[in-house]
Symmetry: C2
DNA sequence: TCGACCACCAAACTAACGTTAGACTGCTTC
DNA sequence: GAAGCAGTCTAACGTTAGTTTGGTGGTCGA
């Protein structure tokens, strides 16, 4: 009646040795958490998806928080790595727009690589404070990378100097990450389509010839201080 | 030992008559849910904030789902009303950019009017399916309004015709709604600052003179069909 | 004065949660 | 073949969630 270790009746590949099942659990957790959120995903859900029972998870992890913390870190690191790799491949001076490249890499990481990135973005605002704090370091490093990227573009004249780079970055993150709420991989848009459209709108603008001339924004804020 | 009806030791104003406490409960729920999310806000939390005990909530509502459903609807209706009012005040033809006006109204509704809008946006993705379905009608109507607004702008030449209006709308929603994750009312930016910066970037673009010429996006998708 | 009713409370219920303890199986090693 | 370890199981723990039940004080029309 007891199942043999490392063989599930679902036929899923669990062929690798011991330590790999830790990753297997994380994979299943990421897939569930990305869809259902943090609180709505129970350890029993994760265990069932991994082909085991809830108690067995504690052989691999000390707590639910540890699972989620590790998930969060993997997620951010993957996006970060993907974006940095893509941007560095552009060379210096870059052969194409840094922003466009970074946007495409970020969105590819979210939608095409694995579930960790989407999960980590989606639940970052709903996890307990301790978990969030543990992931803040990686998060900040990634944001800092974007910050430098935009500053570099601005210094080279690729961005209008009067554009607030902090807000630009936050808007880009918003537009990209919010896609988790609506993007359907089976739909009419490819990830590349979406990324290109976003870069196009944000870089070249969407206003047409008949647009009402709006006065350029007053720069009320000398030194933008960002919180969090 | 039993407290007098309509008087709490916290000194909070519960002076209004009976039916109003239903709204009072919703107010408290919205404030908590906006900060903590759906699952992390318990009925005991809501009850305590309302100056009563958990069981008493059931005199006013049939379930937690009913509370949240009503909250969601109020939230969407408030933003919708605010945006429509602001845009209609522009006249026809509009005296200023419809997009800029709508963006500012949406963000004012989220951050300055009450907690319902922020709460509803924030938890829409984490709420049980039944609740989400109940709120989908209002939601779709609001999105449809934006859709028409952008189509109108496009028809009048205020938007570049090659810009995908569906994606533009989704990007705008993303940038605006994501501000819930980072915007600090006590910080250096006013809501108007943020709204104006977003309109400026999205309408006029952020690219500078030294930008690498990026080829305009191919329109691979003849008829963009949106899901959800 | 009195009963009806409104708005609430205290206390409990069931279900589910994260977590723990101990037993068990199969594999490896001496 | 006994010992030991790795990995999982069963079963239960205490807590907390949403929810239900029966009651209670205050208000008010008759």
């Amino acid at each position: 009646m007891v199942r043999t270790a490392f063989s599930t009746e679902s036929g899923e590949a669990v062929a690798t040795e011991g330590v790999a099942s830790r990753r297997h659990i994380l994979d299943c957790a990421a897939r569930l958490v990305r869809r259902q959120g943090y609180a709505a995903t129970s350890l029993r859900d994760i265990a069932a998806a991994s082909g085991m029972k809830a108690g067995s998870l504690y052989y691999h992890f000390a707590s639910k928080e540890e699972i989620v913390t590790e998930m969060l870190n993997i997620g951010v690191q993957t996006v970060f790595g993907e974006v940095r790799r893509s941007v560095e491949a552009l060379g210096d001076p870059p052969a194409a727009s840094r922003v466009e490249t970074a946007v495409r890499a970020h969105m590819r990481a979210i939608f095409e690589i694995d579930d960790y990135n989407g999960a980590s973005i989606r639940i970052f605002g709903q996890v307990p404070p301790r978990v969030r704090d543990a992931a803040l370091g990686e998060r900040d490093a990634y944001e800092e990378y974007w910050h430098k990227l935009l500053e570099q573009d601005a210094a080279e004249g690729r961005l209008r100097p009067e554009v607030d780079r902090t807000l630009l970055r936050l808007f880009l993150f918003g537009a990209m990450n919010w896609a988790l709420e609506w993007y359907d991989p089976a739909g009419k848009y490819s990830v590349t389509d979406v990324a290109r459209a976003l870069s196009d709108i944000v870089l070249r603008g969407s206003a047409g010839a008949g647009a009402v001339a709006s006065k350029p924004p007053r720069r009320r804020v000398p030194k933008p201080v960002e919180r969090r």
